[in-house]
């Protein structure tokens, strides 16, 4: 279980997260919504151990974020909002590159299967010639090489077609329901959030999101 208690983060004088507390159970897919600049990406980067909060405590199972960073990184898969792949590499080379530096070892066949599971079948294709959807899939696949338990996705489907979006959504649901992975997901697409997530956390106090989700019959927690 991921437990976040009284989390506070500020950039200079700007308070981004104020006293945020929540928890996520294994196998849950949790949506994070909020207006631009509300702190969704900041929260995900804190949960990914990439930046430190000013205050608060985070634990994942029995691991504390302050002291067990190295062990936590083995369990975390983070998909950054901007695609982080080597454009000049093929899909294969991208997967091999990150596998070499990853926590877990996988054969080329296993890496290829991981891509195929996500309907990414252009194994020898250069990343720069892939469509936006395929690049997003590769971006996600790289984060899954070491089979993380906790998956943090920062707008993983932004700017891609409906088919690829659907395929990514289906795959994530499989990961959560069949493999028990915990997924925290940010998006501005309410339809996607509603269809994919078990429950939604709204960051900030914007009534727009609360009203919208209430209309759709989605249970919402305000952080």
């Amino acid at each position: 279980m991921l437990k976040v208690e009284s989390l506070t983060k500020q950039y200079g004088s700007k308070q981004v997260l104020a006293d945020v507390s929540f928890q996520v159970n294994p196998g849950d897919i949790v949506g994070l919504v909020g207006e631009n600049g509300a702190g969704k990406s900041t929260l995900l980067t804190i949960l990914a151990t990439l930046i430190q909060p000013e205050q608060g405590m985070i634990t994942y199972h029995d691991l504390a974020y302050k002291t067990d960073q190295r062990k936590l990184r083995q369990k975390i898969g983070y998909v950054p909002q901007n695609i982080a792949i080597w454009e000049e590499f093929s899909v294969e080379e991208n997967m091999v590159f990150f596998e070499q530096l990853s926590w877990g070892k996988k054969s080329r066949e296993q890496l290829r299967q991981l891509c195929l599971d996500m309907k990414l079948d252009q194994w020898k294709e250069k990343a720069q010639s892939l469509s936006g959807g395929m690049k997003r899939k590769l971006n996600l696949a790289i984060s899954l090489i070491h089979e993380p338990e906790l998956l943090l996705l920062d707008e993983p489907t932004v700017g891609i077609d409906l088919k690829s979006r659907k395929e990514i959504g289906t795959y994530l649901q499989q990961l959560a329901k069949q493999q028990g992975k915990t997924i925290i997901y940010t998006s501005h697409d309410m339809e996607e959030i509603i269809s994919l997530c078990d429950y939604v956390y709204c960051i900030g106090n914007d009534p727009f999101y609360k009203e919208l989700l209430k209309e759709k019959g989605q249970h919402i927690h305000v952080l």
């Binding site: 990439l50 930046i51 430190q52 990184r73 080597w86 590499f89 530096l101």
Partner: protein, 379 residues
């Protein structure tokens, strides 16, 4: 480290030609630059015509001295031919060594020793004239000294006569043997390096040019630091088995090793091409130079987020380091006024054969502070 090497090879496979280009560029560019500059210098010698009407020893020596001048392209001609070429502006000026040159010098007559012809396009006449006059001045001085010496036995009642020819020949021999212009003096108990007997093959400093281009190529090769620390990739790389800093440093070490091998190959080829010799302690200076400029490029690249601005800044810094390093133009005047300038360029340390330079120590300190500084992020 094996994993890092494998991942770096994946990058290099994509950039094989570009990598090879940057690795051999210092050697290639040095060869091309110096060969072109020397050829250009050869082409830009001042064409002068020389007509010799006197066959005395002194006249022959004067002709040899003018012929050997590094900035003159001398054509030995007949007067008529020389004047035609002068009219056609093929020659800048014409000098005629008049018959009886030595006799005139010997009898201390300093007029009409040489006749000079110029045209309205004789742009270099004044410096050429001065150079020729300096040789005549030397001959005249030598003759005057001979006359003075010849009078000494009479003044002091010594029964020994030296002829004018004997004295002039002996003085020439002494001047050549002692080579006073090239003698180096040192303080007692202080050792100085022996001056090379042979003249340098080029007016350009081969190692200075090579070092300046090596600085540039090192900056350009270290652009991977800028590219691989773009925010999204930095986040991804930070979550890997090794820390992001460790990832950068290990890759930096791989680059350092490859660059050092390239330096050795480049140096070997330069030594062969320019027929130069290198001392063993220069190898250590080269290792130190390579580490210094790699650290400089690495730390410099860390400050940039956009490759374009990095390239512009790197190019500017290279020119600055080349200039203050004294590799491109002599800066003796500046270093006398501001001695600390020479400490700022790794090129100066390399050219002086320094193994441990002050810049190396400063960069190493900055590197250590960067590496062990606690970040505000977990990464």
């Amino acid at each position: 480290m094996k994993s890092i090497l494998l991942t770096r090879l994946l990058h290099w496979r994509q950039q094989a030609w570009s990598l090879l280009f940057w690795l051999v560029l210092p050697m290639l560019a040095t060869c091309i630059f110096i060969t072109t500059a020397d050829n250009w210098q050869q082409d830009t010698k001042i064409p002068i015509g020389l007509v010799v009407e006197d066959d005395s020893q002194m006249a022959i020596q004067l002709v040899e001295a003018i012929n050997e001048h590094a900035l003159f392209a001398v054509s030995n001609l007949e007067t008529e031919q020389a004047l035609i070429q002068l009219e056609q502006h093929q020659l800048d000026s014409v000098f005629v060594i008049e018959e009886g040159y030595q006799e005139h010098i010997k009898s201390n007559r300093r007029n009409q020793l040489i006749t000079a012809y110029v045209s309205d396009m004789s742009l270099a006449y004044t410096p050429v004239k001065e150079a020729v006059a300096s040789h005549i001045q030397r001959d005249a001085g030598s003759s005057k000294a001979a006359h003075t010496i010849m009078q000494l036995p009479g003044q002091y009642g010594v029964e020994r006569d030296w002829s004018w020819d004997e004295i002039v020949t002996t003085s020439d021999q002494i001047r050549e043997r002692e080579s006073l212009l090239h003698s180096s003096f040192s303080f007692y108990n202080q050792q100085t390096k022996q001056e090379k007997e042979s003249a340098p093959p080029s007016v350009w400093n081969v190692w200075g040019i090579w070092a300046s281009i090596a600085v540039l190529t090192t900056f350009f090769l270290f652009d991977w630091v800028v590219k691989e620390q773009r925010p999204s990739m930095k986040q991804r790389l930070s979550l890997l088995k090794i820390s992001f800093k460790s990832y950068l440093v290990r890759n930096g070490l791989i680059y350092l090793a490859v660059l050092f091998v390239a330096d050795l190959v480049n140096s070997g080829l330069l030594l062969f091409y320019f027929q130069q010799s290198i001392q063993f302690d220069h190898l250590f200076a080269m290792i130190s130079f390579r580490i210094t400029i790699s650290m400089l490029a690495f730390l410099f690249a860390l400050r940039f987020r956009t490759p374009f601005f990095y390239y512009v800044a790197a190019l500017s810094l290279t020119i600055l380091l080349g200039l203050i390093g004294g590799a491109l133009v002599p800066i003796d005047g500046l270093t006398i006024m501001l001695p600390w300038i020479s400490y700022l360029s790794p090129i100066t340390a390399f050219l002086n054969g320094q193994v441990l330079s002050s810049l190396f120590v400063v960069l190493l300190s900055i590197f250590c502070v960067w590496y062990w500084r606690k970040e505000r992020t977990y990464a």
